[in-house]
């Protein structure tokens, strides 16, 4: 089910500006991989190039090779929408569709992807909301607006929406940075459960969070502003946080910069 992602020399540009340079790493299936590093080092850019969201911006392009179970994500004959259905994404700020109810939000991907059968949608909605630990809180008001939920609930709604289309990889870009500590814990618990089924890549600014939820951690950094971000060290989370092999990683972990 869950898939292995391999990046070889991934370089991404915004117009003429090179944001990341030569990122190579292998992301294991059914695990949580954390991307950490100072702001502007290209974590989001790398994450967005994995499900081809980077190219949505005008002038943005990606070079290098990205494969999912050895299928090239950027091959000419690849359908972008299929890539994005396989590799779901949760954003920094919860972004439920404001015109839609909770139910419609969860099944949006399926319905707009062509699924019509009510029974299928009902089942998928319940399954996704249960998986996102939100079912108990909202099952009595599925036809109320999704935007009426609290921030933490909205973010879990967005996670439910992402997993309702049954992706194999879920990318999360600082999913807790707009949330309070309680909601953050709820999402972290959820991530630990989801990794039994999905490959998860999470960008986080919070090092405790990376230490708590992830199996492996990748540290990104830049030399100075304007330079492209590079992968400095990538290893088991325990190793990165206790015994990093690169001096820069250690400086960052111990709070000496970034």
């Amino acid at each position: 089910m869950a898939k292995r992602i391999e990046a070889v020399g991934v370089t991404a540009y915004y117009g003429a500006f090179k944001a990341i340079d030569g990122i190579s790493m292998v992301i294991e299936p059914k695990s949580v991989t954390a991307l950490i590093g100072p702001s502007g080092c290209g974590k989001s850019t790398f994450l967005r190039s994995i499900n081809r969201m980077h190219e949505v911006l005008p002038g943005a392009r990606v070079e290098g090779k990205l494969t999912i179970d050895s299928q090239d994500i950027y091959a000419r004959d690849v359908d972008v929408t299929a890539v994005r259905r396989t590799i779901g994404m949760v954003f920094q700020r919860p972004n439920p569709f404001p015109t839609m109810s909770i139910y419609d939000n969860v099944v949006a991907g399926l319905r707009l992807g062509g699924v019509r059968r009510k029974s299928l949608l009902d089942d998928a909605c319940e399954k996704a909301l249960r998986a996102a630990n939100l079912w108990n809180e909202v099952h009595t008001r599925l036809n109320r607006p999704g935007a009426g939920l609290s921030g933490g609930q909205q973010q879990r709604l967005c996670i439910a929406r992402a997993i309702a289309v049954e992706p194999q990889v879920v990318l999360m870009d600082e999913p807790c940075s707009a949330l309070d500590p309680i909601s953050t814990l709820a999402i972290e618990d959820l991530i630990s459960e989801l990794k039994n089924q999905y490959t998860i890549i999470i960008v986080t600014h919070n090092m405790q969070q990376a230490a708590r939820v992830s199996d492996r951690t990748a540290f990104f950094s830049i030399d100075k502003t304007g330079d492209p971000g590079r992968l400095i060290e990538y290893a088991e989370t325990a190793k990165i946080f206790t015994n990093p092999s690169v001096k820069k990683t250690e400086d960052y972990i111990t709070g000496r910069f970034g």
Binding site: M53, G88, F91, N95, L112
Partner: protein
């Protein structure tokens, strides 16, 4: 920690005093207002200063109120509070002033339009009725306005919205900028020029090919085309602004679910922007329904019923108003006023219906 918790109790009295200040009670404001009114009446009406009329008295009362308020307030409440009071009063005065023309138009319309608000008006045309005859109605004009504005809207909305979608969602670089520029230029086209354009292009060049006699002819459809020229830039621009207000995060959220771009636009972006788009469309419709010059030019106007928009002269409410108001008899102007009232009511009705339809009905209920 201990010192922190003791501060509020030990110094609570001076602290609350520092945050409090004396405020003018409401009765004092009312008293100043009454005093200003009395003073103004005495000055301008009784003493007859500057041949005081009511308008002058009212303006004088407001000025006296402002001066009195600022003096008393700065004595009692201090200068900052006084300035706040004066600014607040000025804003309220400006608001009332802005309402005056609106209220006055509505009252005048209701007042003068009442005379001919009868069954005859809504069931008859002006066939065989001269300016010196009573009776007559605007049935033919109402139908004409509905047909012309309706056809114009049917053509404008899909093209205008599609154009806005192109500019915002697809257009990149030169072409999109050029189109935007021309839409901007078109916004400023005077309506008579739009009328002339349709006269030259449609009535004189195209319509002869459509008639068996090969003669050019007027039609309600030609008027609709002229209205379309006027409505298109308004609809495109307002839709464009509304689409730009839809956060990029919604589009990205949709793309990330593997939803194709056109579906994202149709099912996520447009519904989110819909209330604003409808408002823009209704503004354009309201303006088109009131246009006179182009209709006069290419539909010609007629006292008779003509329900076929594709052939022959057709009346519209605005042309009807123009004709009747120009008739210097005791029957013409009342008909014009009632037609004006009808036109305003029609536009209002359409706007309310459109607003109700575009509301997020399913989600607004409790």
């Amino acid at each position: 920690m201990t010192s922190m918790t003791t501060i509020p109790t030990s110094s609570s009295a001076p602290l609350t005093n520092a945050l409090r200040s004396r405020r003018l009670p409401v009765w004092a404001l009312v008293a100043i207002g009454v005093a200003a009114a009395v003073l103004a009446v005495l000055l301008f009406k009784v003493a007859g200063l500057m041949d005081g009329g009511w308008v002058l008295t009212l303006v004088g009362a407001v000025l006296i109120f402002l001066i009195g308020l600022s003096v008393i307030s700065s004595v009692v409440e201090g200068r900052r509070a006084a300035r706040n009071r004066v600014a607040t009063s000025l804003i309220y005065s400006a608001f009332v002033l802005a309402l005056v023309p609106l209220v006055s138009v509505v009252i005048t319309l209701l007042n003068k339009g009442r005379t001919r608000l009868d069954g005859t008006f809504f069931n008859n045309s002006m066939r065989n009725i001269t300016a010196f005859d009573s009776g007559g109605g605007a049935y033919h004009a109402i139908v004409g306005t509905l047909e012309q504005a309706g056809i114009a809207t049917l053509i404008t909305v899909p093209l205008g919205v599609a154009g806005a979608i192109y500019i915002v969602e697809y257009g990149r670089g030169r072409l999109a900028n050029t189109i935007r520029f021309f839409v901007d230029v078109m916004t400023g086209i005077p309506s008579i020029v739009a009328g002339l354009f349709i006269l030259a292009f449609w009535v004189l060049i195209v319509s002869p090919h459509l008639s068996s006699t090969h003669q050019p002819f007027n039609s309600g459809f030609a008027a609709a085309l002229a209205l379309f020229v006027l409505m298109l830039p308004t609809v495109t621009r307002s839709t464009e602004e509304m689409l730009r207000l839809v956060p990029a995060s919604l589009r990205e959220g949709s793309f990330a679910l593997g939803i194709a771009k056109w579906k994202t636009i149709m099912r996520i972006v447009i519904p989110t922007a819909l209330p604003g788009i409808v408002t823009g469309i209704m503004l354009a419709v309201a303006r088109a329904a009131g246009e006179t010059a182009p209709v006069l030019l290419v539909a010609g106007g007629t006292p008779n019923r003509n329900f076929n928009p594709f052939e022959g002269n057709q009346e519209s409410l605005s042309v009807y108003i123009y004709d009747q108001a120009a008739a210097a008899t005791k029957y013409g102007p009342p008909r014009a006023w009632t037609a004006a009232l009808t036109l305003v009511a029609l536009v209002l009705l359409l706007t309310v219906v459109a607003k109700l339809l575009s509301r997020r009905t399913k989600l607004n209920q409790k």
